[in-house]
């Protein structure tokens, strides 16, 4: 047997007392004296480091590197942007796997392919054969750079110490970055093989490897061996070559589509041409699709699939053990062991991870393709048939920073509501509603920026008669575009709508307004649907083409959910056939203020993508959007791009103290009427197209996508209430808007002075809107927000542009709009800032202080309070019985 290879960190492992074993020809640490269970748990709880320098690393470069990689990998290399990584499989001609791999693009003109250590020689032999005829070359750099995986919820904190606070990578999985760790160049990937949502792999030059390893330990990371790496990947259901890929326990080749990750790793894009294994993979994919639709009629090309498996009886399953359903052998365990986990208690966001640990017997199995989730099966554990089940997964990572173990539990039936007298329930409901109203209106300080309490006038009108009526109407060309109503009794609401349109035109500063959408999100859907319809208006004989490219704010950088593919864009955005991703490009943001769009970089992106649609607007909005600058550039370029500003949050700030979107060149503005605006919860669309304009047809399409496209009943009560809100806004807007922006700046400065970490540009006093964003520490947002709620301060926790998602969020998003309306000024906001700092930084219970502060401010301002108005409202209340 040839001598075992050693990584750059061999001596470090031996000195640490690691148990070294032969792993694919490498002498590697299987465990340290801490042992596998503790190493696994430390990974899940804190941060482990794994030496992964044995993985084969191959640089691919040359003019034909892309065609070569497209030919030998299953993935679409054209979809890989700079500073991104992708998972790929190296297929063979039969549709099996030579190996699985990760492809990294740290540099524009080179790719780094990382393969399994044990397969490196085999992979190279295969790839060297394939590269013939391509003007590309491969260089093995395994020995030049060491690789250390830094995995676990504390990984980001640890690495940010080394980077001097700089974000290590973008927060998304597979993001890459090249940066300095205390003066040494490193390449960092947000990737890993433990399933940790916060996991990185760091590449560093060989000479610095031991330095980095030891520095990471000084910062609190602990070394973990291949044993823990295996239990972690098993818990995450990640495949391992030789177990879930390669040959199965019967010696048959496992088809690539048997592996769940194949769905992401295999592309049939035209860009890939006749890549190796394409034909058998297409056949497997056909079976895969049928299996997903529970059609098990012909499974020849994909007879078995890899699924998770959980032992219900006591015991341990191991690779190779047969799996039965009844008497029928349906497959084999491919990986299995006992895996430790931390117990947890509580529900939902209140879930607490305990210090107490337990173990569970889990695995992966290759089983007949007609096996379903929740199927009960048996495993032959050395002669004993033990009960097992096919769970959907063993672990989830959608509540970062922690990987959450999912213990198998069958669905519980919920008890149906009992029959009988409902009177006690009615009384209880009314009592609780009263309590809630008083609490939110009189005892709490509401800082949710997307909320506003309406005035008494607005509330009464919302509840008055038209609230349960219909008033469908549509313009009819035969009547010179007169609105025709379908039902009688609608004369009043017809007039109300016309008045509302005029008030909103005046407020927004535009030519046309649609008021029938009942939410901001619906307004966006209505506009997107209209844009797509208008795009296809000249050819109705084919499937309509979707919109793309679209430019918007990334959700993680404050973009509004309703302007995302996962929100209202969902059914209207195209997929780019080259990248096989949404035809979406995000506004680049400034490096030193991620809340501001980088105009110069945006121009470059416009050149590159020539977007047909640009959507400004955010839900984390501290600064003005550069509408004028982008309008000017788009016009100079002669593009037909439609520019929209989703002013959901800032509709009520349109004017002298913030932005005038139409004056700056927006064509379409959508908004919510209940955030900074005074209305009940509805949506609005304004456009600046005039009769005779080319895009006036787009406006007419928007109207028809409102009705009959979106609503047949447009909530007449709140439409009436909105007219009152529009009167209030147009009457009081100058004073109100000035107060909101002034209060927000003042509140931000007070919070900063009280010791809190306030986001935004200090040169703008941190904000130019109603919002203030405060960082309270990575992953602590939910806890702090709940603590504040307990103390009657209502705000929402928010992931900053550097964080992975809502449970990892470390910021609070606050708005001064509602409390400004209740009369708070800089003095009150300063008091509030002191109280909040006490609660956030010092854990003081402040409920009484808040109730005392709020007590003086329960009267609504910026609304009509004259005696005459009050008397008229009393009359309305009396006659309507409200």
């Amino acid at each position: 047997m040839s001598e075992l290879k050693r990584t750059q960190l061999y001596d470090v492992h031996v000195a640490a007392g690691a148990t070294m074993v032969d792993f694919g020809g490498w002498e590697m640490p299987i465990k340290y004296p801490t042992d596998i269970v503790a190493e696994h748990l430390y990974t899940r709880h804190a941060c482990s480091i794994f030496d992964v320098s044995h993985m084969g690393r191959i640089l691919v470069e040359g003019p034909e590197m892309v065609p070569f990689l497209q030919h030998v990998l299953s993935s679409n290399v054209m979809a890989l942007d700079l500073n991104q990584a992708q998972y790929a499989i190296i297929p063979n001609e039969a549709g099996g796997a030579v190996d699985d791999a990760y492809l990294y693009r740290f540099e524009e003109d080179r790719y780094l392919l990382v393969v399994n250590a044990a397969n490196t020689d085999k992979d190279l032999a295969h790839l060297n054969e394939q590269i013939k005829g391509y003007d590309a070359k491969m260089t093995v750099i395994t020995g030049d750079w060491a690789a250390i995986a830094v995995q676990g919820p504390k990984a980001k904190e640890v690495l940010q110490v080394l980077s001097g606070g700089e974000a290590v990578t973008e927060p998304m999985k597979n993001a890459l970055n090249t940066l300095q760790f205390e003066g040494r160049t490193v390449r960092v990937a947000k990737t890993g093989y433990t399933g940790e949502p916060i996991g990185y792999e760091v590449y560093i030059e060989t000479a610095e490897a031991a330095w980095l390893w030891n520095r990471l330990i000084e910062l609190g990371a602990k070394p973990a061996g291949l044993g823990a790496r295996d239990t972690c990947r098993l818990e995450a259901c990640l495949p391992l070559y030789g177990h879930e890929m390669g040959l199965d326990p019967e010696g048959k080749e496992i088809p690539i589509f048997a592996v769940p990750l194949a769905k992401f790793a295999v592309s049939f894009s035209e860009q890939k041409g006749a890549f190796i294994g394409r034909e058998p993979l297409e056949k497997q994919y056909e079976v895969f699709k049928r299996v997903m639709n529970r059609d098990f009629s012909d499974l020849a090309d994909l007879p078995r699939r890899i699924m998770p498996i959980t032992l219900l009886d006591k015991g341990v399953m191991r690779a190779g053990m047969p799996v039965y359903k009844g008497d029928k052998l349906i497959g084999y365990v491919t990986s299995g062991t006992m895996v430790p986990y931390y117990r947890h208690e509580g529900e939902g966001l209140q879930t607490v991870i305990l210090e107490e640990t337990a173990k569970r017997s889990i695995g992966l199995a290759i089983v007949d393709s007609d096996t379903l989730e929740d199927d009960e099966v048996q495993i032959d554990v050395r002669g004993r048939r033990l009960k097992a089940v096919i769970p959907p997964y063993h672990m989830r990572v959608d509540a970062p920073p922690f990987a959450r173990p999912i213990l198998y539990r069958p669905d519980e039936e919920t008890a149906a509501a009992a029959s009988g007298d409902r009177t006690p329930k009615v009384l209880e409901l009314i009592g609780r509603a009263t309590q809630n109203h008083v609490w939110r209106q009189e005892k709490c300080v509401n800082l949710i920026p997307s909320e506003m309490s309406p005035s008494r006038a607005v509330r009464l009108l919302c509840a008055s008669d038209p609230s349960f009526r219909y008033a469908e109407h549509k313009k009819v060309k035969s009547f010179y575009d007169a609105d025709v109503f379908y039902y009688q009794g609608t004369e009043f609401i017809d007039e109300v709508e016309q008045l509302l349109v005029e008030e909103m035109k005046a407020f927004m500063g535009c030519a046309e307004v649609e008021t029938r959408c009942v939410s901001g999100q619906m307004s966006n859907t209505c506009v997107f649907s209209a844009l797509m319809d208008w795009k296809n208006r000249l050819n109705r004989k084919q499937d309509p083409k979707r919109l793309g490219y679209i430019m918007n704010n990334h959700i993680i950088k404050g973009g509004h959910l309703s302007a995302q593919p996962m929100g209202a864009l969902h059914d209207y955005i195209a997929v780019d056939p080259v990248t096989e991703r949404h035809a979406l490009v995000n506004f680049p943001v400034l490096k030193d203020n991620i809340y501001k769009i980088d105009v110069e970089e945006t121009k470059k992106a416009i050149d590159q993508y020539r977007p047909e649609f640009i959507i400004f607007g955010k839900s984390m909005v501290l600064h003005k959007e550069p509408v004028a600058a982008i309008r000017k550039y788009v016009d100079e370029m002669g593009l037909q791009t439609t520019i929209m500003y989703d002013m959901a949050h800032v509709l009520g700030l349109i004017g002298d103290h913030f932005q005038k979107p139409f004056q700056e060149g927006a064509e379409i503005v959508t908004g919510s009427t209940h955030k900074t605006f005074f209305g009940p919860q509805r949506g609005i669309v304004g456009v600046n197209y005039k009769k005779g304009d080319l895009k006036y047809g787009l406006w007419e399409t928007i109207e028809s996508r409102a009705f009959p496209g979106s609503v047949s009943n447009h909530h007449l009560g709140t439409q009436l209430g909105l007219l009152m809100a529009a009167y209030e806004m147009n009457h009081f807007k100058d004073a109100y808007q000035k107060a909101v922006v002034h209060n927000a700046k003042s509140f931000a400065k007070s919070l900063k002075a009280a010791g809190l970490d306030v986001a935004g540009d200090p040169a703008n006093d941190y904000t130019e809107t109603h919002q203030v964003i405060v960082s309270v520490g990575y992953g602590t947002g939910p806890e702090v927000a709940m603590r504040l709620e307990r103390n009657n301060i209502i705000c929402n926790y928010q992931a900053t542009p550097e964080e992975e998602g809502f449970t990892a969020s470390g910021a609070l998003r606050m708005g001064v709009n509602e409390m400004t309306r209740f009369g708070f000024g800089p003095k009150e906001f300063d008091q509030l800032a002191q109280i909040m700092a006490d609660c956030i930084l010092r854990g003081r219970e402040v409920k009484e202080d808040i109730e005392a502060l709020r007590a003086g401010y329960t009267e609504m301002r910026y609304c009509f309070t004259e005696d005459q108005v009050a008397a008229a409202l009393n009359e309305l209340a009396r006659k309507s019985g409200i």
Partner: protein, 124 residues
């Protein structure tokens, strides 16, 4: 590594603690637990099982593998240490306290070593 003098040892790394002429406790040695690593499961024998010297009567599992535990004696299982089922890590933490089974009616012994002999044996 600990080798209590009052115990007898097997080449398969079990220990035997005589209670009287026909009764003894059986467990795995400190060396065995350290080689196996974290023990995560034990498949205990049942009370009344007949066991034979130098044949498997129980198995223990670490994260990586399963190992048979061989009986040092021929006899009958009088009692099992049921707590180990829920806490197999006791075998790692206190190998000489964490007995696996009490064997009665001992009729034959396998090959056994003294503490000194066993220490020499594992250091080879």
């Amino acid at each position: 590594m600990n080798f209590p003098a009052e115990l007898k040892y097997t080449k398969d790394h079990e220990w035997l603690k005589a209670i009287d002429d026909t009764t003894a406790l059986v467990g795995i040695t400190d060396f065995a637990q350290s080689e196996l690593g974290d023990l995560v499961f034990i498949n205990l024998p049942q009370e009344g099982d007949e066991v034979t010297a130098e044949e498997s009567f129980c198995d223990v599992e670490s994260v990586k593998a399963v190992s048979d535990v061989m009986s040092p004696v021929t006899g009958v299982v009088a009692e099992v240490h049921a707590e180990l089922e829920d806490e197999p890590q006791m075998l790692n933490e206190d190998p000489y306290g964490a007995w696996i089974a009490k064997i009665k009616d001992i009729s034959a012994y396998g090959e056994l070593m003294t503490a000194e002999e066993y220490e020499a044996f594992v250091q080879k």
